[in-house]
């Protein structure tokens, strides 16, 4: 990857309005030197894919606390594939039971950051992934 700053889209799929986590992460990533676009709440999978392509991001961070993650993450990954953008790193956070993590990872969500995660760990994860990709 020759681009300088890592571009991240943070999005809230589903209908829940709990945006504390998304906003905290957005600010932490920005403080870590990334370019962050935050969509706001109530985004459909289609809107998120569209925004990711328009903004040409490297990373999508999905935040959801409504329990609709199994239904809503898969169409996002499929949408990216359809547009030929399976290179985008997709990660997620929120209230997601551990039992659902393997299924989500199988769809193509690279990592799930649950409650209590330090923003430092998220930053490190993104930076490592991006470095690996650019040296591939």
């Amino acid at each position: 990857m020759s681009k300088g700053r890592i571009r991240v889209l943070l999005a809230k799929p589903g209908l829940d309005g709990h945006d504390r986590g998304a906003k905290v992460v957005a600010r932490a990533l920005r403080d870590a030197g990334m370019e962050v676009i935050y969509t706001g709440i109530r985004q459909t999978p289609e809107m998120i894919v569209e925004a990711a392509i328009q903004e040409d991001v490297d990373v999508i961070g999905l935040s959801i606390l409504s329990g609709a993650h199994l239904e809503l993450f898969a169409p996002i990954i499929q949408g990216l594939k359809k547009k030929g953008r399976e290179d985008v790193l997709v990660i997620a956070g929120g209230i997601i039971p551990e039992d659902d993590v393997p299924a989500l990872q199988q769809t193509g969500v690279k990592a799930i950051f649950g409650p209590g995660t330090s923003t430092g760990d998220i930053i490190k994860f993104i930076q490592n992934e991006m470095t690996q990709r650019s040296t591939r």
């Binding site: 706001g40 409504s66 330090s118």
Partner: protein, 551 residues
Amino acid sequence: MANKTKQEWHDTTLAPALKRAAERQDKFETSSGAEIDTVYTSEDLPEFDHVRDLGYPGEYPFTRGVQPNMYRGRIWTIRQYAGFGTAEETNQRYRYLLEQGQTGLSIAFDLPTQIGYDSDHPLARGEVGKVGVAIDSLRDMEILFQDIPLDKVSTSMTINATAPILLAMYIVLGKRQRVESTELNGTTQNDILKEYIARGTHIFPPRPSMRLATDIFAYCAKHVPRWNTISISGYHIREAGSTAAQEIGFTLADGIAYVQAAIDAGLDVDTFAPRLSFFFNSHINFLEEIAKFRAARRLWAKVMRERFEAKDSRSWMLRFHTQTAGCSLTAQQPHNNIVRTALEALAATLGGTQSLHTNSFDEAYAPPSEEAVTIAVRTQQILGYESDIAHVVDPLGGSYYIEHLTDSLEKEAAEYISKIDSIGGAVAAIEQGYQQREIQDSSYRYQKEIESGKRTVVGVNRFVSPYPKIVGLLRVKPEVEKRQRERTAQVRKDRDNAKAKQALKRLEDVARSKDNTMPAFLECVDAYATEGEICDVLRKVFGTQKEFLVF
């Protein structure tokens, strides 16, 4: 100790001790970053006037509580927020909770119900029955309250943008059960302003939303006199990351906006103000929270008496529900949450709450399992029936520190209200993103404090150890969505369609006029018009409101 001043004690006794051993922290602070002194004495309350600042319980300014004998008559209402899946499943949970000695119901609705979409709407995909029960039409309400007589329970509904519709369903359901609307007891949250600030289930722009809210005030004053028409909520403001002072400042500023809107709509303050209620968070800062509840009560009494010149003493009383802090729960070592919740519940009761929800230990993962919610209910019963805290009113009143903290929180909250007044009131401030920005700054600071280790969260950043996975988490099955869609389709098929259409048309006309909308909502739900259909009419008339996003 006789004639020593605090300063002299500091110099002669404290300072030498500190020289020998430093304290655990450089500074001890409240949630808003105010420094906490080592000890408090009468010197910290130089202007304290027992009669003016405290008074007696049940009397202005209600610092010590709204009832003269508080929990000696009966303890607070144990009211667990509950709802998931379809009406059948939630009805079973309600009956279980009532059997366990719960004394009031509290309906959690799913997100499509809160945002005005039927379960078969494309945006409802994956959300049906997840965070609450799915209610599309009166038919669902009938099932939800199967074998629960409405004249025997009080029911709180966490419903805001669609509050008039759900209230209308409850009133019509009462009629079906032969319970008069004058006998109904309960609460509609009906607090749209905090949705724009922190919770995010708004539908319409602020102006028509305020009208719908005050239509409920006016209608209930005449027809449902025991209904709490609104629950002005700081809970979600705190969950979004505010400080304790911001929680009461922003909430009371919202309260002021509702009172002013109702007065502007032509209502006399004393006809509706006694039915206003509040909802606060009880967070992990035990002492600060107790002071917060007392400060909120005193400040609201002054606002109602001095600013709005209410004459009825019931208009001055801040009555409130409390929920322990969801955001203080940890996914790590989840059983520790039982202790956190007990501590927070204790603060709420020492602060004089009227009703209480205690969180279940598994809620950092999913809605509570039956086992977890039983422990949460038992926690309240231990506090209320086993310990001595319900035997006496405001036991911490007169504590130098609690009184000092009550004063300073009241002052800080009043400053936020002045700031919001200077912007042009709560609505104008929301439109400019003032409260949202303040909350975001506080929540970011809080997160930084956890990550730097300045703030301890046991099991997360200190005393970390492996913990067993929780088994038996509640899962809402995917069939729920399908079953609910089918039922709603069946309702549309079975009803008198002409009647439903006519009612929806009348609602449209009323919405365009200045008349009270409640009778038209009653007619719509009675004809089994669905919530989505009703909201489509309102979206057409009022338009919709995007989030006032600050980032």
